[in-house]
């Protein structure tokens, strides 16, 4: 394996001498790192690898591209130390130029640090923490698809405005859950709502019954689920068993993906309101992408994370080809910020100085089983949150790059 790597590297060096453009090691190497087999495998996982490869293929179809673009992937098992180990090896030994996706905020923050240290590029699609464009922002990272602030803002605003004034939070007891709860509570209170109580559950949790009973007893109109993945789906399932929604309280999922809704089923998930950046059934380009994606990925339909990976890789390739070099990570990111973004999935947008990619966000409601006409037909659009309101204003993030 090592020998092979060395030989490939040596061959690449020879090739680079002949090429006009200066790509480090003669190739553009894209590393997709995420959860390949655990909780987040369906919403990111192998689908993100497919999306990155698809972006490369589409890019090379549309214009002349460098002849060596490679996509590799790895499984970080949602552990920051494993993720950090892989990131270092990729940058030090395997000559990876850009890392993409990386769900799980703790791992993303680790990769964020290492990418800056090695002056490479980090394009975040799967991770949520708004710290990536706040106090942890770097000149080498772009946060592409969504973040905790955007979710809290979209969902919190919409629900309070439609009459959900009193809230009770069910929060995963770790940094991510606390951040999501804090951001949402701020939005709720700003809009005149009231937080009547909260309870923290251990992460990961299986039995939510005692927490849900507390939520029920609080008589709050809205039970906000400040957690993710299996915690969210378990809580929703158990809430359905207790008849909480039937009794008149509503659930607000603060981080829900298409694949979560799929695993819950419409009967359980109906009526759930949440914010996302992209949905496959919104226009023809998305539907065509979803069709190809599903055919290649066990019929799973793409989530916003997959669309974000596609969009981010496309824009990265544009910037690198415009520069004619991928050697200096900070320069590539500066070029990406300078160029407006435009691709078939996420449309036109831009990247702010703090590394935040700006685009519209959407507020969705899960359909009733009777409304769903075809497989994976799950969402109806409640509102579009315009790009300039969807994300945290730059001045409030505390990013040192913004002066």
């Amino acid at each position: 394996m090592r020998m092979k790597c060395l030989m490939i590297a040596a061959a690449a060096c020879l090739a680079a001498g002949a090429a006009e453009a200066q790509y480090s090691n003669g190739n553009i190497k894209i590393g997709v790192m995420n959860d390949q087999s655990g909780t987040y495998a369906d919403l990111a996982g192998p689908g993100s690898v497919w999306a990155a490869k698809k972006a490369v293929a589409d890019f090379c179809k549309a214009q002349k591209c460098h002849d060596k673009i490679e996509v590799i992937f790895a499984d970080h098992q949602n552990k920051p130390d494993i993720g950090a180990g892989i990131a270092r090896r990729w940058y030090d030994v395997e000559q990876v130029d850009v890392m993409v996706d990386v769900p799980t905020s703790s791992v993303a923050l680790a990769v964020n640090n290492i990418t800056k240290e090695k002056n490479k590029v980090f394009l975040v699609s799967g991770a949520a923490s708004s710290d990536l464009t706040g106090k942890a922002c770097t000149p080498n990272t772009i946060h592409w698809t969504y973040d905790t602030w955007a979710l809290a803002n979209g969902t919190g605003n919409a629900i309070v405005k439609t009459g959900g004034k009193t809230w009770f939070f069910l929060t995963a007891d770790y940094a991510f859950g606390h951040a999501l709860e804090r951001d949402t509570a701020a939005v709720v209170e700003k809009n005149g709502g009231k937080v009547v109580g909260k309870v923290r559950h251990p992460f990961p949790g299986q039995d939510f019954s005692s927490f849900l009973l507390q939520a029920q007893a609080s008589k709050a109109q809205i039970i906000g689920l400040a957690n993710a993945g299996a915690d969210t789906t378990n809580a929703i399932k158990q809430a359905a068993e207790f008849g909480i929604v039937a009794a008149g309280q509503n659930l607000a999922g603060l981080l829900v993906f298409l694949t979560d809704v799929h695993s819950l089923g419409l009967k359980t998930a109906q009526g759930l309101i949440f914010t996302e950046a992209w949905y496959w059934d919104m226009n023809d380009a998305n539907r065509a992408f979803a069709k190809e994606f599903a055919a290649a990925n066990r019929d799973i339909h793409p989530s916003m994370v997959h669309a974000g990976v596609y969009s981010a890789v496309t824009h990265y390739l544009k910037a690198v080809h415009a520069l004619g070099s991928d050697a200096d990570g900070a320069k590539v990111v500066a070029k990406m910020k300078e160029m407006p973004t435009d691709d078939k999935l996420m449309g036109k947008g831009k990247i702010r100085a703090d590394g935040r990619k700006i685009h519209d966000m959407y507020l969705f409601e899960v359909k009733k089983p009777a409304e769903s006409k075809k497989p994976w037909d799950y969402y109806k659009l409640r509102a579009t949150i315009p790009a300039d309101e969807a994300f945290r204003p730059m001045a409030e993030g505390g990013c040192p790059l913004v002066k």
């Binding site: 790895a74 499984d75 098992q77 920051p80 130390d81 030994v93 923050l109 680790a110 640090n113």
Partner: protein, 319 residues
């Protein structure tokens, strides 16, 4: 030190010293940190016969302490590592004082329970950063002069730390103190009847093992610039048992070999994701069934058998 051992150690050390030329230094440092951790664990199980199932608490807690000291308090690297080691030793005194009152499965369960308490503390305490861990721990120049931001340079520092820990353990098990430990392992009531206060011996061995596990954890935090919940979780306690058993329990070099095997597997088979655990399990079962003494243990036994046969041959010749 026995002459054979001197040769073996010199050869191993020479090999370790040239390896960075061929292998990624960060990976080698990881092997060395885990090897030291396994050596510390081996001191307890191999020479005192105490199976601790909570050694991750020393390893992980020391990682947090050294990470916090270096990053937040701005301590120099060596002070940070010492702080981690010291914290692990103190934790060892507390945990050991409770655990050594019981033997066998009860001892294992008490250590596991204590380790879970430490895990919970690390999960909740503000200074550990919860799920995020302590990240971006700086590598400050060692003793103010040696620049350890270069991985190869730092590798030799880690090698020195490992050698120190390794020789310390070697010295301990070949001292009169070590002889008493082995006596306790073989027959505790008899050691008591001979007048030894076995509890004191056991506690001292426990604290020593905890401190060295802490040294390994503190070093790892500086190597990877991160201290996280993985280091303090119960799976880590299981992993060190695995390393020691695969390498050879109660042998001096066994933990080093075991750590190299397990860490290499995790590194080179990483692409198979969760299958690594299945493969690890299969290798563990195979080792336990076919190589009861572990890899190094079987090699040592093979040499011993040959020496014995040769001894017999010469004895027959003399007849």
């Amino acid at each position: 030190m026995k002459r054979n051992d001197v040769f073996t150690f010199a050869a191993v050390l020479a090999l370790l010293a040239v390896l960075p030329a061929a292998i990624y230094p960060l990976f080698l440092m990881k092997v060395l940190c885990f090897a030291l951790f396994a050596c510390a664990f081996n001191l307890l199980i191999g020479y005192v016969g105490l199976l601790s199932f909570g050694h991750a608490m020393f390893f992980g807690f020391a990682a947090y302490v050294s990470g916090h000291a270096v990053k937040v308090w701005g301590w120099p690297t060596e002070a940070g590592i010492l702080a981690g080691t010291g914290a692990a030793a103190l934790l060892g005194v507390a945990a050991g004082a409770i655990a050594i009152r019981r033997q066998g499965i009860y001892f294992a369960m008490v250590t596991l329970a204590l380790a879970q308490m430490v895990f919970f503390y690390c999960h909740q305490a503000p200074f550990t950063g919860g799920e995020d861990g302590i990240q971006a721990i700086p590598r400050r120049p060692l003793l103010g002069v040696i620049d350890i931001t270069n991985d190869t340079v730092f590798y030799y520092v880690v090698l020195a730390i490992f050698t120190f820990g390794f020789l310390l353990i070697y010295r301990v098990i070949h001292s009169p103190f070590g002889q008493v430990l082995k006596a306790i392992r073989e027959n505790e009531p008899r050691a008591i009847s001979l007048g030894y206060r076995v509890d004191r011996y056991k506690l001292l061995a426990f604290v020593l093992s905890a401190a060295l596990a802490g040294l390994a954890g503190a070093t790892k935090a500086i190597v990877f610039k991160i201290a996280s919940l993985t280091d303090v979780a119960w799976q880590m306690s299981g992993e060190v048992v695995l390393m020691t058993l695969v390498g050879g329990m109660g042998t001096v070099l066994g933990p080093l070999v075991g750590a190299a095997v397990i860490v290499s597997m995790q590194n080179y088979l990483a692409r198979f994701g969760e299958w690594v655990l299945v493969i690890q399990g299969a290798i563990f079962v195979t080792t336990v069934l076919l190589l009861r003494r572990g890899i190094v243990g079987e090699i040592v036994a093979a040499f011993a058998r040959r020496a014995l046969r040769r001894g017999k041959d010469t004895a027959q010749d003399a007849d």
